[in-house]
Symmetry: C2
Subunit: 357 residues, 2 copies
C-alpha cells in the first residue's frame, strides 16, 4: 500500500501545519522546459530539483491546492477499493459544489487532469499507482505466455486478433518468452500484415502496435521485455517528423512526463526505419508526400533536441528529409509487393542491423 | 472462390464487349441520399435499383472505369494469395504511372477508396471478401469460447486486456456461448470499468466496446451473436446527438453503406441509455455539457430520419434534449459512485427492460 501511505503522509503533513497554525503548503516539482534537462548518463529527459511551494492561504494557490487534495482523496479511495478508472471518471467522481458556497471544485476536466499530474510529481508515483488508467490501445502477438488476473494467455494463440494491451501491465507475469526481439510499430495495419504472415512465428519475435504515440501500457510492456528478458526493441515508423518524434518520446521521454522518464523511457529502443537510406535503396521516392509548413517546423524542433544533436546519423536523416521536403509512409513498401515488408524489408534490415543511432 | 468468380465475370464481360467492338461499360448502383430509402419490412436503409453506366470511351468516365478495374485486379490477387490488407496498402500496391504516359492511375487514396466502394456495390461483396480490412479497434470479454485461425480463445480468460476484435470475424467459430445478452458501448473506459468489475461474469453476458462508430468487425460480431445465438444487443452511449447517431447507424445502417445494410445493420440492437429519463432519475443534470450549434443541427437531422420519426419515444428524447440544450456523458454516473454503473445503473435498467423504442 505504498500509494495509500504516500497520500496519507501528504495529508498528515497538511493537518500538522494546520494544528501548528501555519499556512498549510505542499511542494510541487516544476515541470517546464526550463526545469528539464537531458541526462547523458541515463540518456533520458530528467527534471531538476527546482520546486514551487503551493499554500492554502494564498488566493492564487488555494484553488489548485484544494483540487490536488481532492484528487489525492479520490485516488486513495480507488486504491483502497483496488479499482482503476479513467481520468474522466475521476473527474466526474470528485466534482462537486463546495458546501454552503456556489463554488465548484472543478470547472472542467482540465483542472483535475492538471491536479493528477501534480500529484504524480509530488508523490513520485505514476498514475497507474494512483488508481488511474491511461488510454488502452495496443495489440501484441508472439511466442510469449503470460499470466494476468489469474488467466494464462498465450500470445501465439489469439487467432487473427492478438491481445489487447491493457493500460496497466505491472501485474502480469511472464511464464515463457521465446523471442529474440520486439518490433514496435505505430500502425495497426502494418501489425495486421505481419501478424497474418505470422512473422513472429517465422522469426521468433514479438510484434506490437498502437496508433501514433505509444500509450503508457505499451511503453511499460516494452520496458519490461527489454529489462527482464534483454530483448532488443526495434521501432518501425513512417519516414516523417512525427514518426521520428514517436521514436524520440518512446526512447528519451517527454517534457510533460520528465518526472517519470525512469519508468516510461524505453532506453533500449532502436530505430529500424523508415530511413532516408530506405527511400533510396527501395525506390520509395515516387511515393513521397509533400511537406507542409508544419512538417518543416517539426524537423526544426527535432534537430535541436540534445540527443539528436549529438548524433551525426540523425542529423543526416534530418538533412536528407529537409532536402526531399517530403515524407514517406511504411506502407509505401506495399508498392513493391504486399508482403514485401514481411519477406524482404524487415528480414534484410534486421539481419544487417541497420539502425539509426 | 466467390470473389474471384465475380471479379472474373466483371472482367470477362468487358473483354467480350471489346471483342465485339462495343464501348466497354459497367453498371454501378447509385449510392446517394436520393437513391436510398428506409425499408419498413427489414427496418434498414436500402438502395433503389437505379444504377449508372460507366463506359470506357467517355472522357468523363474513363478514369473511374480504369481505377475500378485496377482495384478489382488488385483485389483478385489478394484473394488468390489469401491475404487481407488495409485500403491504404491496396492504394500503394496498385498506384503506378500508366506505361508510356505521364498519367498516374491514382492521384490520391481518395480515388482508390471510391473505386473500392464502387466495386463493393458492383459485385455485392463487402470489402472483407475483397481482401480488404477495415479499421480493427474493439475489445470484447464474456463467457464465450471461440476458434479463430486454429486457436481456441476463451473470452473469459484474457486477464485485464480482453480480446482485440479483428476486422474480419466471418471465419471465427463459436465453440461455447454462455451469455444472456451483449452490452455494446462506445467508450473503452466504460468497458474497462465493467471488465474490472467482472460484470460479464456476474451477469452472464458479453461486453464489447470500440471508440465512437462501431467498426465493421464489431458490427459483424454483434450480428452473428444476435442471429446465431438470439442474444439481445443493448447499446450504451452518451446522452448526446452523436451517441444517438452511433445507435442509429448500428441498427438501421447508413447512406454510404446502404448497399450492405443486410450484412452490416444490427437490427436487433436496443438502446439502453443514457436517456433523458436517466438524467432525471439519476440526477445527472448537474453534469450537463452545454450544446454547441452543431449539436442542435445534428438533432434536427436525427429527428427527421424515417425510423426515428415513426417513434414517439425517440421524438420525446429529442424534444427533451432540445429543451435541456445540453448533453451528458455515461461517465457522469461516476459522480454517484465509481461502480454505480456496475452495481446499480445497468442491473436496474436491464431488469426493467427500459429501452427507447
Amino acid at each position: 500500500m505504498d500509494t495509500k501511505k504516500k497520500i496519507e503522509e501528504l495529508a498528515k503533513n497538511i493537518i500538522e501545519q494546520l494544528v501548528q497554525q501555519q499556512n498549510p503548503s505542499m511542494t510541487v516539482p516544476i515541470r517546464s522546459l526550463s526545469n528539464v534537462y537531458f541526462d547523458k548518463k541515463s540518456q533520458t529527459l530528467q527534471i531538476h530539483e527546482n520546486a514551487s511551494t503551493r499554500s492554502f492561504y494564498n488566493v492564487n494557490h488555494v484553488r489548485k491546492f484544494v483540487q490536488t487534495l481532492a484528487v489525492a482523496a479520490g485516488s486513495k479511495k480507488l486504491v483502497e477499493r483496488d479499482i482503476t478508472v479513467s481520468i474522466r471518471d475521476l473527474y466526474y467522481n470528485i466534482k462537486r459544489t463546495l458546501p454552503n458556497t456556489k463554488i465548484d471544485l472543478l470547472d472542467s476536466q482540465t483542472e483535475s487532469d492538471k491536479a493528477i499530474e501534480d500529484l504524480e510529481a509530488i508523490t513520485g508515483l505514476p498514475r497507474e499507482r494512483l488508481g488511474l488508467i491511461a488510454d488502452a490501445s495496443g495489440t501484441v502477438s508472439g511466442k510469449v505466455v503470460i499470466e494476468d488476473s489469474g488467466d494464462t494467455i498465450d500470445w501465439s494463440k489469439l487467432g487473427s486478433g492478438g491481445w489487447a494491451i491493457p493500460s496497466d501491465v505491472e501485474n502480469i507475469t511472464f511464464k515463457s518468452v521465446k523471442a529474440k526481439y520486439v518490433i514496435y510499430m505505430e500502425k495497426q495495419a502494418v501489425w495486421h500484415r505481419l501478424h497474418q504472415d505470422r512473422y513472429w512465428d517465422k522469426h521468433n519475435c514479438i510484434i506490437m502496435a498502437s496508433k501514433g504515440q505509444a500509450p503508457r501500457g505499451v511503453r511499460r510492456l516494452l520496458i519490461r521485455l527489454s529489462e527482464e528478458f534483454k530483448l532488443p526493441i526495434y521501432v518501425l515508423t513512417d519516414f516523417d517528423p512525427w514518426g521520428f518524434y514517436i521514436y524520440s518520446v518512446l526512447k528519451y521521454g517527454s517534457i510533460n512526463l520528465a518526472t517519470q522518464s525512469d519508468t516510461l523511457a524505453v532506453t533500449g529502443a532502436q530505430f529500424l526505419g523508415i530511413t532516408a537510406d530506405d527511400i533510396e535503396h527501395y525506390g520509395l521516392k515516387k511515393h513521397f508526400i509533400k511537406f507542409k509548413d508544419v512538417d518543416m517546423q517539426r524537423i526544426g524542433q527535432l534537430e535541436n533536441y540534445d540527443w539528436f544533436k549529438a548524433s551525426k546519423a540523425w542529423q543526416r536523416q534530418f538533412k536528407l528529409m529537409r532536402s526531399y521536403k517530403a515524407k514517406a509512409e511504411i506502407q509505401s513498401l506495399s508498392n513493391r509487393d504486399i508482403q514485401f515488408i514481411t519477406n524482404t524489408y524487415l528480414p534484410e534490415k534486421i539481419k544487417k542491423q541497420q539502425f539509426v543511432e
